[in-house]
């Protein structure tokens, strides 16, 4: 199985690159020949602290195969997060934030020669696309399913559950898998619902950082895309 993968990512308009709180793995574009490949995106919740770190821990753990049992895997990540954020004296408000924990979505995709499997918590979405036809949208299927309260994985035991939704299918050579965080996923579904399949456009823009940034700025400005961190990971399988 031969794969090429491309990553494009942007912070919210008005924020710096350091304030970007999504995460993706692999963390850069590339290509590989392998019998098994994992990729993931995650969206750290804005209102929590240290969410980018939690999102990064989740995508990396998924891609290393450590979340095959999501419950045990996530439980084992929590001490790592806590050790990283509470390793020094913190002001009173940061202590409270650590107590509350960080929250993130997670979308993982495993490709093998037998097919694909996906695992999702929250509203980061996978689109399996052949040509301009979207064969599967997972876990959300329509643009009106997005809300401000998605399911999130917590970095603290009291925060929330560890349940993920599973999906699977088969692929053919030349198929594309788009992994998108919510603002871009909602935009893409809206375009598709309006009879304007966005996949060719996204496939082109993901390879051109300047073009991608200009496109996102224009869609935000026209109020067609929510101003949020944006992550697009595209995998093409041969």
């Amino acid at each position: 199985m031969k794969l090429t993968y491309h990553l494009a990512a942007l912070p919210k308009g008005g924020n710096s690159v350091q304030e970007y709180e999504d995460a993706a793995w692999p963390p850069r574009s590339g290509c590989v020949a392998t019998p098994l490949f994992r990729a993931a995106v995650a969206d750290g919740a804005t209102e929590t602290s240290f969410a980018a770190l939690w999102a990064r821990l989740l995508v990396r753990a998924y891609c290393k195969g450590r979340l095959r049992s999501s419950q045990r895997g996530i439980q084992s990540l929590r001490p790592l997060w806590l050790r990283s954020v509470a390793d020094r004296p913190l002001p009173w408000y940061a202590e409270e934030k650590v107590r509350q924990g960080a929250f993130s979505t997670l979308l993982g995709l495993t490709l093998s020669e037998h097919g694909w499997e996906a695992s999702a918590a929250g509203d980061s979405c996978l689109f399996h696309v052949r040509g301009e036809a979207c064969l599967t949208a997972f876990p959300l299927r329509q643009s009106n399913e997005f809300s401000n309260r998605p399911v999130l994985l917590s970095s603290r035991p009291h925060g929330s559950g560890t349940d993920t939704i599973q999906g699977e299918g088969t692929w053919e050579g030349g198929d594309n898998f788009f992994l998108l965080t919510d603002a871009l996923a909602a935009w893409a579904l809206g375009q598709a619902e309006g009879g304007r399949p966005p996949w060719e456009t996204l496939g082109r823009l993901v390879q051109c950082p300047e073009g991608f940034a200009a496109f996102v700025a224009e869609e935000r400005c026209a109020d067609r895309m929510r101003n949020d961190d944006v992550t697009l990971l595209l995998l093409r399988v041969e």
Binding site: G14, F50, A51, E96, R99, Q100, R156, N227
Partner: protein
């Protein structure tokens, strides 16, 4: 559409609390927390609200200045009610509030241990505002002072989400009818909409709490009715949030509450609860 400006560090919003510090605030609550003095309950609520606002704005790198916040007391005098290094200041960026409590107490609280039990934990409880109960109730002067402060703020924040003013009182103005001053305050506006004035009435009258009513017919006395009339209608999104939390808050609901739990009421007036609006 009004009340949809994005709240950001370049485009912050503003909360101004007006706190009745008259001698009658030394009385006890009529219901609910009847063992406590009103002034103590209000001080505790304001400190919790400031904590919640700071925590909402706290990110990994520190506290982001999404809000300017003021606390004006009115009783023996009208002026800033902050203690410590913030004393005398009217509107303070939220990061300054975070870093400058008058003191930090330690309190214990029970938390879920994740395994069905409870753990007792010591947490820091910062204090910016102490209870005071002295003098009359110069509400007209307090609303006028709020108008001066917010006129100046709006002049330099015309594109911002409009300021929210929360007046907490036991009711009876002693320096005249406050209606005109309240109307002048509500007439101030940014490009995103007029100032929102909410009134929280802590009456000594017995009676079940009333939150966000849409008419005054069920209110128990003239002071409650006057405060209701002075209150802004809740914008649509606030009604949605309030309804989501079980309040009726129908069409025409006002930002008024009678003998209600202060922290839970104000939580819904706090637009920062909408993460999509903050960056």
């Amino acid at each position: 559409m009004a009340y949809n400006a994005e709240i950001s560090r370049n485009n912050p919003s503003c909360f101004l609390f007006l706190i009745d510090q008259s001698g009658s605030m030394d009385d006890h609550f009529a219901s609910g927390e009847s063992s406590r003095k009103k002034a103590d309950g209000v001080a505790d609520a304001i400190n919790r609200l400031l904590q919640n606002l700071v925590i909402k704005c706290a990110k990994s790198e520190g506290v982001r200045d999404y809000y300017d916040v003021g606390v004006i007391g009115y009783g023996q005098k009208v002026g800033s009610a902050f203690g410590g290094t913030l004393a005398g200041r009217h509107l303070v960026p939220i990061s300054d509030i975070a870093d400058n409590p008058e003191r930090v107490e330690e309190r214990s609280r029970k938390i879920d241990d994740g395994a069905g039990g409870l753990l007792e934990q010591t947490v820091k409880f910062p204090i910016w505002f102490s209870p005071v109960a002295r003098g009359g109730t110069p509400m007209v002067e307090a609303l006028g002072r709020a108008g001066d402060i917010l006129s100046a703020w709006i002049a330099s924040h015309q594109g911002s989400f409009p300021p929210i003013v929360i007046n907490i009182t036991d009711g009876e103005s002693t320096d005249g009818d406050p209606q005109a001053a309240a109307t002048s305050l509500r007439d101030l506006a940014t490009d995103d909409g007029p100032v929102l004035l909410f009134n929280l009435h802590l009456s000594s009258q017995q009676g079940a709490p009333i939150e966000f009513p849409h008419d005054e017919s069920g209110l128990p006395d003239q002071y409650a009715r006057l405060l209701f009339q002075m209150s802004s209608e809740l914008p649509a999104y606030m009604r949605e949030v309030a309804q989501g939390e079980g309040y009726e808050a129908g069409q025409g609901a006002r930002g008024f509450a009678f003998n209600a739990d202060l922290v839970s009421v104000i939580r819904f007036l706090d637009i920062g609860t909408r993460p999509s609006n903050l960056r």
